[in-house]
Amino acid sequence: MGGDAPGMRVDTVRALRDAGITALLAFGLFLPLVGFQTVTDVRNDLILVTRWPLLLGVVAVVGAGRLVYSLAVEPWLRQRALLPALPAPAWRVKAGKWFLPFAIGFVVAYPAIVLATAGFGRAVKWIDNFGIQILIYVMLGWGLNIVVGLAGLLDLGYVAFYAVGAYSYALLAKTFGFSFWILLPLAGILASFWGVLLGFPVLRLRGDYLAIVTLAFGEIIRIVLINWVDLTNGYAGITGVPRPTFFGIPFNAEDDGFAAVFGLEFSPIYRTIFLYYLILALALLTAFVTVRLRRLPVGRAWEALREDEIACRSLGINTTNTKLTAFAMGAMFAGFAGSFFAARQGFISPDSFTFLESATILSIVVLGGMGSQIGVAIAAIAMIGGTEIMRELDFLKLIFGSTFDPTQYRMLLFGLAMVLIMIWRPRGLISTREPSVVLKERKMIGADLIKEGHG
């Protein structure tokens, strides 16, 4: 298996040619994207600035990258493909076993870790932007996972149910003064009601058609929220949404506030920590219910539906009800998350429920691996945490100059990450399926056998 075997030789000429073509393509692609920039000058005119050095730099990096890939990485990959597959090393098996308890322990201890390392002042940012924000998306991802990952129904309008939950909480809490704990289940019920409502007309649709109709449904909800000004206050949104209380004790600086009651100095951090544990509990509830559901007949029917709908029907399964329960279940968790979102923000507007939001949640599910809870959680951390962390990368300004804003490159990096994942792990980070019931030995099922569903 030496490097001289036929087909193993590194073809320098070809590598150079490939690198040249890649650089040329990069030039064509980045010329309008990077080469030109429009800026407003002092007289408020729009002028075109060329950035040749930057463009050439990008092209050179791309070309060199391709050259390195052809010369070094590709032969190495080919070599490795010839070696027999090794069993997973012992440390990896062990790590896999301890991963879940460690991860849960970490998220439970996270506020304490942040308080200890970042200090009291900066902790709010870390718990809120990273902890709460990521956990909302983990929960949404797990909720959508029921519809897309388990039942195999492609839903592009998931954010609609999130919006229904948020507006249900905001409107009912403001109008009737119900507490968060009453409205949380109510928001879930209302969202799942809308889930069923959406489910009915799309029952007969499959694949692309289902995706388009769910996409339209998401937009309908958003546009109704914008235009029904009497109820929702339109674009301006709803302000002063009541915040959740600690079992009746509000988080404020008053005498009956949380800090005063517990004899602490007032600080916004208590509310943030409370919200963190609230969303953590909600997310864990979602995970727990989903894991349970998978082992129940309804969960198996969802997966069977994804595998083969006609076979399901031949076994006496009412596929209509099965699809509706999947929509309702998924929507319910979005409703919970939505009411939490409204309570946390204190302000909601239709801007928070755009299609981009649906797309983000769906890409979390797809990147994580459809049907995999841990995969979805990791993908949510990477995608949402990645966005947040880009705001923190101040040192990049030292390299690229003070006008450099890393968040502008967010979508580019997402795209890149998506392409890389689809090359290396086309079925998501965790693509194997764990059987829901075992007779003797638990064997993971490879992605090549699992169907993706067709609506």
């Binding site: 007949p297 029917a301 006496g316 059987p435 019931v437 490879g446």
Partner: protein, 302 residues
């Protein structure tokens, strides 16, 4: 019909049109309790269409498909039931179902007719055991209190699931797949997938098992094992079987009754031996007019 006491399924004047195409034209036959009835015919004769009508996947253009449970006296209710517009009629000791009025999932769930498919339709990404548990969905759904008790982890569901696994294990033993219970169904070799599909259909607890070409793609040894399995299902479970098959060794060996279709029309109906010698059937299979059968038979050495 004096000899009709043991009739289980009655297909009467079944017609199925797709636009201008008449796939099944006025076909009537019966299947008897505890019998294996074979439905044969050349390609495109409409056998699978008849199957799809019986199992509720197609709604027939015309005709009546009635199935009896329990007491044979239930047949007395056939005309009143047909006229009153209901789907089914039940009383202690017997029940009657009009399958053409039922959607496919109720045909399995209530009328207890199970089926397999010509191109195997397993759940490839689920394990063999899971496939058999999905088949027991309705019973388990009830036991899990429509999911509610199951979520709360009440013991009644655990008991029901254990029973379901026991039943699945019994069927795995019978089709010789116990060793592969935890493997993905899509990983099984072809013959094993065929057996699993039959076991899965049996897990729905049917009174009538409809098999669409169960021996297709099996080698002679597997095919004879299949014969034994089907005979055992008939003997031990008392289940009637309706079978579409091209493999004449299977048809002639195990069926009690054969119905022959050609171009959507029933051309013969009778015991296997009689069918084998029926010139119309031979003509249909050889694709020649009746009067030329003798000549062609001589040519091919029959």
């Amino acid at each position: 019909m004096a000899a009709g006491d043991d009739i289980l399924l009655r297909v009467e004047h079944l017609t199925m049109r797709f636009g201008g195409l008449v796939a099944v034209d006025d076909v009537s036959f019966t299947a008897r309790q505890g019998h294996i009835t074979a439905l044969i015919g050349p390609n495109g004769a409409g056998k699978t269409t008849v199957f799809n009508c019986i199992t509720g996947f197609y709604r027939p253009s015309e005709g009546r498909i009635a199935l009896r449970h329990g007491d044979a006296t239930a047949w007395e209710w056939l005309e009143p039931l047909t006229n009153c517009g209901e789907r089914n009629f039940a009383r202690t000791g017997g029940a009657l179902y009009l399958l053409e009025r039922m959607p496919e999932y109720l045909v399995t769930q209530q009328a207890r007719v199970a089926r397999t498919f010509q191109n195997i339709r397993l759940f490839p990404g689920m394990t063999v055991l899971e496939n058999l548990l999905v088949a027991q969905h309705n019973r388990l759904m009830l036991a899990s209190g429509y999911t509610l008790f199951g979520i709360l982890g009440l013991p009644s569901y655990a008991v029901a699931e254990r029973t379901a696994i026991e039943r699945a294990k019994a069927w795995l033993d019978r089709v010789d797949l116990t060793a592969r219970a935890d493997d993905a169904a899509g990983d099984l070799p072809y013959g094993a997938q065929r057996r699993l599909e039959i076991a899965r259909a049996m897990c729905t607890d049917p009174v009538l098992l409809c098999l669409d070409e169960p021996a297709a793609g099996l080698n002679p040894r597997e095919s004879s094992e299949l014969n034994q399995l089907l005979l055992a299902i008939r003997e031990q479970e008392g289940i009637s079987i309706l079978l579409i098959e091209h493999d004449m060794s299977v048809v002639m060996e195990i069926s009690d009754h054969v119905v022959v279709l050609d171009y959507g029309v029933k051309i013969a109906d009778g015991a296997p031996a009689a069918i084998r010698d029926n010139p119309k059937v031979i003509a249909a299979y050889l694709g020649v007019p009746d009067k030329d059968v003798a000549t062609v038979e001589a040519e091919v050495g029959l």
